[in-house]
């Protein structure tokens, strides 16, 4: 892990902290596997103690005694307020619009927030077979806001997806509004380098802040198109001592997230 670099925190830690801060004003969050699991548990302990976590495994009101490796960890169930079947979770909660924020990761994302988690290469004969949708396609359509968290690079921030697993913005906001989906599509992207929002007028990903130690040329060097810039691109506030302490000591002692 690179948590020992001169900044005193790794870019992964910055990514997790920046993402957790975005949950400050949110309420019902749908928690999937991996990083979002850590992000949400950090937010619960920092930016938003009242955050309601709905686990993709069908658990509500969970107060886990340890950071679960999987979203189906038994520690999430014991002492929770409710457990539901997968059908009810996807139909009564997600499809019915009860979820305010959904998290998505991606192997590839385009400038409009369309996401590929299915294949690299041709579908029939893929170079790399990825996990596929899981609940991502439904989260993209039904969560009122969609937060994307992923590392960025030439291979992940691409002009053209190899496969569109989960729909983002179309590039035509008029069309997007007319779709009449519960969700309003991708809201923000947080990477190991920067944070982005999606421009209302064009639906295009827009650079808002760069993490400490990151400059624009590095951001540009790590995406497949020339990024749209906010009027004044700012600097992501560095993680506080408290944020780092909780992340390192309570949530991720193995430093899985910090790699």
């Amino acid at each position: 892990m690179s948590a020992t670099d001169d900044l005193g925190f790794s870019r992964s830690e910055m990514m997790i902290v920046a993402s957790a801060r975005q949950l400050a004003a949110q309420r019902v969050t749908f928690v999937g596997i991996g990083l979002p699991n850590i992000v949400c548990n950090l937010a619960l302990r920092t930016s938003n103690p009242d955050l309601e976590l709905v686990y993709e495994s069908g658990i509500f009101g969970s107060t886990p005694k340890r950071l679960p490796l999987s979203i189906g960890d038994p520690t999430l169930v014991t002492g929770s307020t409710a457990v539901t079947s997968m059908y009810e979770l996807f139909a009564f909660y997600l499809q019915a619009g009860l979820v305010d924020v959904g998290f998505l990761g991606a192997a590839q994302i385009d400038r409009f927030g369309n996401i590929n988690t299915t294949v690299i290469g041709d579908y029939a004969h893929p170079k790399t077979r990825l996990p596929g949708s899981g609940g991502a396609c439904e989260i993209a359509i039904h969560a009122r806001k969609v937060f994307v968290i992923m590392r960025q690079g030439q291979r992940s921030f691409v002009e053209k997806l190899h496969f569109r697993t989960s729909p983002g913005h179309s590039g035509d906001p008029g069309h997007d509004r007319a779709r009449g989906w519960t969700g309003s599509g991708p809201t923000s992207v947080v990477t190991d380098l920067a944070t982005y929002v999606f421009d209302d007028a064009t639906g295009e990903m827009t650079l808002v802040t760069m993490h400490p130690g990151v400059e624009l040329d590095e951001v540009r060097a790590n995406m497949g198109w020339d990024p749209r810039l906010a009027e004044d691109v700012g600097r992501t506030p560095a993680p506080t001592e408290e944020e780092l302490r909780i992340l390192r000591e309570e949530l991720d002692p193995q430093g899985v997230s910090a790699r």
Binding site: E52, V77, T78, G79, T81, F92, Q95, A96
Partner: protein
């Protein structure tokens, strides 16, 4: 959502039930919240559309009291005891005024709640074949399967403005636990714009957390939580009190006679300030006679992890 939603039934009905609303007080023989029906009558709500699979005595009372302009249902009767004459007077004789009806089968009604709870534009259902029901209810539409080309029927979502669910127990934020007959309480609650949970007991959150699989309704969708012991009478709450079959039988002659019905409403609803008064008026001996002996469930081990 962490905040308390505990309210009196009077305040919950006053704030959440509006004239003209579509209201569902569900419960299949079990957990029918008569207390909420009486409060709606007492507050003289008007022009409601009432939805229930089995209107039961509760809707005979409400419709007899004039709160509704329309009834959506699938079986109209007083189970094992007779008929719902106040409803029938309006349907058969427009007495004292017409009542619009929209009629389904049981499965059609449940499927409507399912569609409503799931935010689906319709639910497919294998029913109504060669029945006259779709002829008198144009909301039941044929639909063809894109696979085998089979024609089935579709029913539209039912999304009440307000659903009242009675539960044995709930915590202050509305997490409600139900055991015994489940009816379509959960579907009706998720389908609703607003949800009132009435319960026999408000319990601390830990009691809910001790058995999360028992939770039928999450606080997430609940607007008000009301503690109202015996709130289902003459219906029942499994483990708390029995169905008052004598009341259901005695309702038959009252229901048949508009004057007797009005007198009953005066004595048991309008002249009383609350359901607590209703409970007191029956008296402790009456409730003791309806209370079952204890028969506890087993326990299961959820395990302490990490």
């Amino acid at each position: 959502m962490r905040g308390s939603k505990v309210a009196t039934l009077r305040d919950a009905v006053a704030e959440l039930v509006h004239d003209g609303d579509t209201v569902a007080i569900e419960g299949f023989t079990h957990l029918i919240c008569f207390a909420a029906g009486h409060e709606i009558i007492r507050q003289r709500k008007r022009d409601l559309t009432l939805a229930r699979m089995t209107p039961d005595v509760i809707y005979d009372q409400m419709i007899g009291a004039g709160v509704a302009r329309k009834l959506v249902f699938s079986w109209l009767g007083n189970p094992g005891a007779g008929s719902l004459h106040a409803v029938r007077r309006r349907v058969e004789h427009d007495d004292p005024e017409p009542l619009e009806i929209e009629e389904y089968s049981h499965f059609g009604m449940v499927s409507r709640y399912m569609a409503g709870a799931s935010n689906l534009p319709f639910m497919p259902i294998r029913s109504y074949f060669e029945s006259d029901i779709p002829k008198v209810n144009p909301n039941i539409k044929p639909i063809v399967s894109p696979y085998d080309g089979a024609q089935v029927y579709a029913v539209p979502p039912l999304n009440p403005d307000v659903t009242v669910v009675h539960a044995q127990r709930a915590d202050a934020s509305g997490n409600a636990q139900i055991w015994g007959l489940l009816g379509c309480q959960k579907e009706a609650a998720f389908a609703a714009e607003r949800v009132i949970v009435v319960c026999e007991e408000i319990v601390d959150e830990q009691t809910i957390r001790d058995d999360p699989n028992r939770t039928a309704i999450p606080g997430l969708i609940v607007d008000a939580v009301v503690e109202e012991p015996f709130g289902c009478h003459p219906s029942f709450a499994q483990g708390y009190y029995d169905r008052d079959n004598r009341f259901y039988r005695e309702w038959e002659p009252i229901s048949k006679d508009a004057v007797a019905l009005e007198a009953w409403l005066e004595e048991w609803v309008y002249d009383l300030g609350s359901h607590a008064d209703y409970v007191e008026k029956f008296g402790d001996a009456y409730w003791d006679a309806l209370r079952p002996a204890e028969r506890l469930s087993g326990r299961v081990n959820y395990g302490e992890y990490g």
